[in-house]
């Protein structure tokens, strides 16, 4: 369970949010809503321990979140792409799976790639892909990196309906497996049961 108690965050003299408290249990999904600049991404960054809050605390399964906790339990897919433009799609997949210390057989990897991409030349350089395809590569980690908590920042942005449906299938499976999902999103595409937190 992620528990946020009286969290406030400021950048310089700008108070981004104040006294936020929320709770998300395993098997639940929470969607953060709010206009641009309300601090959705900043809140996620606080949860991931990328940023230090001004006040308050964030607790995961009874422990205050630190670097070790976040790297062990959290998988984060942000808005910006992390892949290397100069590497092929295949090399990027291998590289980022190695970074996350994941080993998969070629068969499992191919199956996951096929699920998200249908048909794709894996030898294509990353910069040759469209925005949507680039986004899919990031989301591929959801299928291959096994961590109990998914933190997703605007995951549906730039995706077609067919891919959104596939992501919803992944989210459903995650919740069935007692995973915990935190999403920030502008789009109302989620057909799954979820909590909403308005910033």
């Amino acid at each position: 369970m992620i528990e946020i108690r009286n969290l406030s965050f400021a950048r310089g003299n700008d108070l981004i949010f104040k006294n936020i408290s929320l709770e998300v249990k395993h098997g639940e999904m929470m969607v953060l809503k709010g206009a641009n600049g309300q601090g959705k991404t900043t809140l996620l960054s606080n949860i991931l321990n990328f940023l230090d809050p001004l006040e308050g605390e964030i607790i995961y399964d009874g422990r205050v979140i630190d670097n070790a906790t976040s790297s062990k339990y959290f998988l984060y897919i942000g808005e910006n792409n992390f892949a290397y433009d100069e590497l092929s799609l295949n090399d990027n997949i291998k590289y980022w799976l190695a970074v996350h210390n994941v080993n998969f057989s070629q068969e499992v990897r191919d199956k996951s790639i096929k699920f998200l991409f249908d048909e794709l030349n894996l030898n294509k350089k990353f910069y040759q892909l469209s925005y949507g395809q680039k986004k899919k590569l990031q989301l591929l980690l959801l299928m291959l990196v096994n961590k109990p908590v998914w933190i997703l920042d605007d995951p549906f942005n730039g995706l077609d309906n067919k891919t959104i449906e596939k992501i919803i299938i992944l989210l459903t499976k995650k919740l069935e497996n007692n995973g915990l999902i935190l999403i920030s999103s502008h789009q109302d595409v989620l057909t799954l049961e979820h909590k909403i937190f308005q910033l």
């Binding site: 990328f50 959290f74 910006n80 100069e86 090399d91 970074v99 210390n101």
Partner: protein, 219 residues
């Protein structure tokens, strides 16, 4: 875990090879700068120390530019977030990247060095000592440059200026490099041990400080 560290090294090596074009461009600029330097002082009698000092300063700048470029690309916010969430310590990733930058620069320098020495009018008998000196000193230069780069690429522009604080760390390398050139034919001397010792010292704190600066300033 070891299997994935090896995969990581292999992929970093791939990235390093792809980045070689930029290193070649930098060393081509060194060739041009060396030609201009030689032409400018063609009528002056000078000792080898002046030429070596020129070479060292240019290589120092090349290393800084290369490290800066790699860090700006490889530690952009999105990539850095994934590295932080990786089971590997960021220090390990910083270390692997630094070593790859080092190999890249050394490899290209070894290829270019005979030409550079000819242009600068340095005897080719100095080729091996100069390469050896560079192989030893560049390790420390890269690790110190990584600290500089991790601060300069930070989101906070005002803080970037603090990267100049790391510059004095380069001074001992330049001083000892010059001291070595004063020894006839760069004879094997205890001075070489300084570079190894200085590198070990840098190795102890540079990846820690670099990753600390990356975590605190660039996410």
């Amino acid at each position: 875990m070891i299997k994935n560290v090896l995969k990581l090294i292999k992929n970093e090596f791939l990235l390093m090879l792809r980045g070689s074009i930029f290193t070649i461009v930098l060393f081509s600029l060194l060739l041009i700068a060396s030609s201009i330097f030689s032409l400018a002082i063609r009528n002056i009698t000078y000792d080898i120390e002046i030429t070596i000092a020129f070479l060292w300063i240019i290589i120092f700048f090349i290393s800084l530019i290369k490290v800066e470029k790699v860090y700006a690309n490889d530690f952009s916010e999105a990539k850095l977030q994934q590295y932080i969430l990786s089971p590997f310590a960021l220090e390990i990733i910083v270390f692997i990247k630094n070593i790859m930058i080092y190999l890249n620069l050394i490899f290209v320098f070894i290829i270019f060095s005979p030409l550079i020495l000819i242009i600068l009018g340095i005897k080719l008998s100095y080729l091996i000592p100069i390469n050896l000196l560079l192989i030893l000193s560049l390790l420390s230069i890269i690790f110190i440059s990584s600290m500089t780069a991790s601060i300069t690429i930070s989101k906070n522009n005002k803080l970037s200026i603090t990267s100049v604080l790391t510059l004095p760390l380069f001074v001992p390398i330049l001083i000892f490099s010059m001291a070595l050139t004063e020894i006839v034919n760069f004879q094997i001397s205890k001075l070489y041990l300084f570079f190894i010792a200085y590198f070990l010292l840098n190795l102890a704190f540079s990846p820690l400080l670099t990753s600390f600066a990356l975590k605190r300033l660039s996410v």
